[in-house]
Amino acid sequence: MFWKQLLPQFCAFVGVSIAPLTSADRYQIQFVDDENKPVEFAVIAHPNAPVTEALLPAEPAVIDQIDMQFSPMVIAIEQGRTVSFPNSDNIRHHVYSFSKAKRFETKLYANKPDAPILFDQAGVVVLGCNIHDTMIGYIYVSPWRDFAVSDQNGIAEIQAAEAPQSLEYWHPWSLLPNQIITHNIQDWPETGPLILKLMLNKPEPQPELKTFKRRYLK
C-alpha cells in the first residue's frame, strides 16, 4: 500500500534526475504523520529570499466555499497578496479572522465579496464563518518567495539554486497550532524527498457540551 502511494513520487524523482541542467533545482519534501501516512496541507517555506513587489501575482488567490467548507482548506500566499472568497454555496457566509496576521470580516454575502482581502502581514490567518462554526480555513502568508503546500501525497516542492540549509513549515493540526517551525537541514537525501514527520492532532468532530454535569477530579 505504502509503495503504491509512493509510486508517482518515484516517477517524479526520475523526472528530477533528468533535469539537472536547469539553473534552479527542485527540491521535494514529503510530510508524513506518526503512522508514516502522507499529510496534506502542510506548508513549507524556504527562508532564503523575501517576497518582492515584482514577484507578486496581480490576481488574488482564491478560497472558495463549497458545501460549507473552505476549499481548499489551506492556501499559502506571498505577503502582500490579496485573496478572494467566492461563495459557491447557495447560502450566505460570514467569513472572518481574528488572527494577528489579519483581522477582518466579510459581512454575510453570497456569490462574491465586494473586494479581495489584502494580507500584508506574514503569519497564519485562521478563517472562520460566523454562522457556520464547522467551517475552518487557513491562509499561510509567507514573507519568503519560495513556499509550497503538500498535496494528497504529502509532497511539497520548492525550487532553489542549491539545497536549502533550513526550511520553515507549518500544519493547521500540529500539536502547537499557529506555530511555524524552523527546520535546519544537514543533508538532503541523495535520492527521494526529504521526509518530515509531523505530530498532528487531527480535530475530530466534537460533541457540544449540552448539559451541566458535576465533576470529581483527583
Binding site: 462554526d133 451541566f212 477530579l217
Partner: protein, 775 residues
Amino acid sequence: MKMSLRNRIAIFFLSLLIVSTIATIGSVLLATNNSVKVQAQAKLNVGKKVFEQLLNERGNQLLNSATVLVADFGFKDAVTSNDQATIESALVNNRNRINADLMMLITLNGEVISSQQAHQLDTAYIKVLLKSDQTKSGLSGIFLIQDEIFQYVMLPVKAPITLAWAIVATRIDKEFALQLKELTNLDVIFKAKGNKNNVAFVSTIESIQADIHARSSNDTSIKELLSQHELNYLTLAVKLSESDFFEINAFLNTSLRESFLQFYPLKVQIVIIAGITLILSIISAFFLARKITSPIINLAKVTKEVSSGNYKEIIEPNHSSVEISRLSEHFNIMQKEIASREEKLTYLAYNDSLTGVANRSYLIKQLSDSISSTPNKEIAIVRIYIDKFKEVNDTFGYDIGDALLIAFAQVLISYTYRTHYVARLNAAEFAVILNNVNDNTITEKITNFQTILEYPLSVHDLRLKNHIIMGISFYPKQGNEAEQLLRRSEIALNHAKDFKLDYFIYEEGQDERHLRQIDLINGLKEALKADALNIHYQAKVDSKLNVVNQVEALLRWVHPKYGVISPEEFITLAEQTGLMPSLTNWVLTNVFTQASRWKKQGLGITIAVNLSAYDLVSDFPKNLELLLIKHQLQPDDIMLEITESAVMNNPEVAIQVLHRLKKIGFSLSIDDYGTGYSSLSQLKNMPIDELKIDKSFVIHLDSDKNDQAIVKSTIELAHNIGLSVVAEGVETLQSFSMLKHWGCNKLQGYLISRPISASDFETWLQEYKVPEASS
C-alpha cells in the same frame, strides 16, 4: 409475707395492666418515632432528587447562557482584541448579561488571561481541569474559590479554532440555598474545605449560619454542629465536588422536631386513654377482687361460727359466680351434715346404741341436773339387773339377747315414760331414776317393776321370762352426788346378787366397806411392787420327837391406813381381782429363799405354805419344780397346805394337780379341816398326807366336850386312813396335853409361838423348850 387474696388478685391484674399499658404506649411511641424517621428519610430522599435536579437545572441555565456567550461574534472579537482593558470590559459586560457571578478567560496553556474577580482560581487546578477535558468540548461542575462555592461552566472560545477557555460561574450562596429550601422544604447546608485551609459555609439554618466557629471550622461534622445547637435534624449528605484541591458537600436536613410535633396530639391522646383505662382497671380490679373475695370472707366467717358449734347461719348462694354459688351450696350441705353428724355423735355419747335409752354418762348428767335444779325433791335410783341374761345369750345367741334387751328397754320406757329417766348401764343392767319416790313409797314401785318386768316377753317367737334383781339408793338420804348415788345403788345391787335377794336397799356403811376394799386392792398391788408384805412363821411342834421341825408361813400385811389386814380379807380380794398369781409368786419366792437359807444353816425346818384354789392350775407343779431347782431344795423341805374348799372349787383339775405335786414329792396337808365339806369320799381320792384340824375345834378344846369328841375321833379317823394330823390354835397347856395324849402328830398355836418374823424365829428356836405335857 402473707397477703390477702383480694390484694393478690388486685395486684396481679394491676401489674398485668401496667405492663400492657406501658407496652402499648412504648410501642406507639416506637412506631411514631420510626414513622417520623422513615417519613423524614423519605422526605430527604425525595428532597435530594429535587435538590440535584435544581442544581443541574441551574447549571444548565448557566451552560446555555455561557454557550451562547462564547459563540457570540462580538465576544470573540473582544477577547481576541489583545487589548486587556477591552477584554476585561467585555467579560464584565457579558457576565452581567448572563447574570453570572464570575467570568474568566484562560489561555490554552491554562494561564489566566483575564478575570474581573479579585480572587482567582488556582492555576494548578485550572491545568488539571483542562487536562481532564479530553474532548475539549467544555466542562461543568462546582468549585471553591477561597471561601465561596461556585457552580461553573468552562467552555472553549472558538474563532473558529479554540483560542481560549472561558469559565463562567454563579455563586452558591445563601440566596440560592434559601431558594432550594423553598422548593425542597429542607434546610440546606453547603460546606466546602479547601486545601489551603479555606472553608466555605452556607446554611439556611440561621443559628448555624451565625456560628462563626462552625463556619470557620475545618473539621466539625454537620451532625456535631446540629447537636451542638440542640437541633434535632435528620441529615442527608450529597457530595458535590471532590478533588485534591477541595471537597464540597451539601447537607439536606429535615427537622425531626416538627415531625414529632405532628404526632404530639396522638401521643397525648394515647397517654390519656391509657391513663383512663388504667384508672378504670384499678377500680374494676379492686371491685372484681372484692367480688371474688367477699363471699370467701363470708364463708370464712360462717366457718368460724360452725367451728364454735353454731350451725344456724346459712349462706345465701345468690352470688353471681357459679363457682362461689356452688361453694356456698356445698358449704351449706357440709354445715348441715356436720350438724347432723354431731347430733348423732351426741346421741351416741349420751345414748345406748342398742336400746336407744340413755347411757351411764347421760344418766349421771340428768341426775346431776335434776339434783341441782330441785335439791329438795326426793329421788330413788333403781338399778335393775336381768338375772342370768348371760344364759340367754349363750343359749339363743346374741341376736335374741339383743332383741330381749330392746324389748326389755321398751317395757321400761313405757312404764317410766316422761316422768322418769331410764338408762342402760352395761350388758344386762339398767337404771331408772324415779322422781318423788322415797323409802316409804319404794315398795310399791318395786312390786310394779317386778310385775311388769318379769312378765314374759315375746322375742322372735320365743317367750322369755326374766328374773330381775334390783339395787336401790335414795336422794338425799343416801347421798348428794349422782356418781355416789349410782355407786351406792350398785353396791346394793351387788349385795342383792351376793345374797340372792330380789332387791336390796342400800344400807349405811356399805359404801365405806366397798371403798375400803378398793383401797386394799390398790394397796395390795402397790405392796407387792414395793415388797411391803411380810411373811411370818409359826412354829409347829412334833409331838413324838418333842422338837420344832416345821413352821407355817403366814402372810402378814400392814396397811399404812387400815393397819394389819387379815390374810382372809386380802387373799379373798386378791382372788376376786386376779392378783392371786402375783401374790402366790411373791410368797413362794420368799418362802423358798427362806427355806434355802435355813437349810444351809442346818436348822432342819420344813416350811408349810398355804395354797389358794387359784394356785391349783395345770402349770403350777412345773413352776414349783423350777423353784426347787433354783433354790437347791428338796420337795420335803416344803409342805403344801390346801383348804378343802379350794379343791372343791374345781375338783377334777385340782385333784389332778395334787397328784402331780405328790408325784414331785411334796407332802400335802388339808387345811381348816372340819369347817367345809369334810367329805370323806373326796378325802379318799386326794393324795394327801395330813389333816389340819381347824382351830375353831381346838381353841376351846380344854373346856368343850363336843370339841374334844370331834378332835379325838378325827385324829383316830385320820390315823386309820393313814394320814397324820396337825392341830392349830393350841393355846393352853391342857389342850396341848390332851392332843399329845390323843396322838396328834403336830401342834401349832400361841402356846408354842405366835407367827413371828424369820429372824425372830431363829432366835426363838434357839431358846425354846417344848413344854411338858400334863397328865
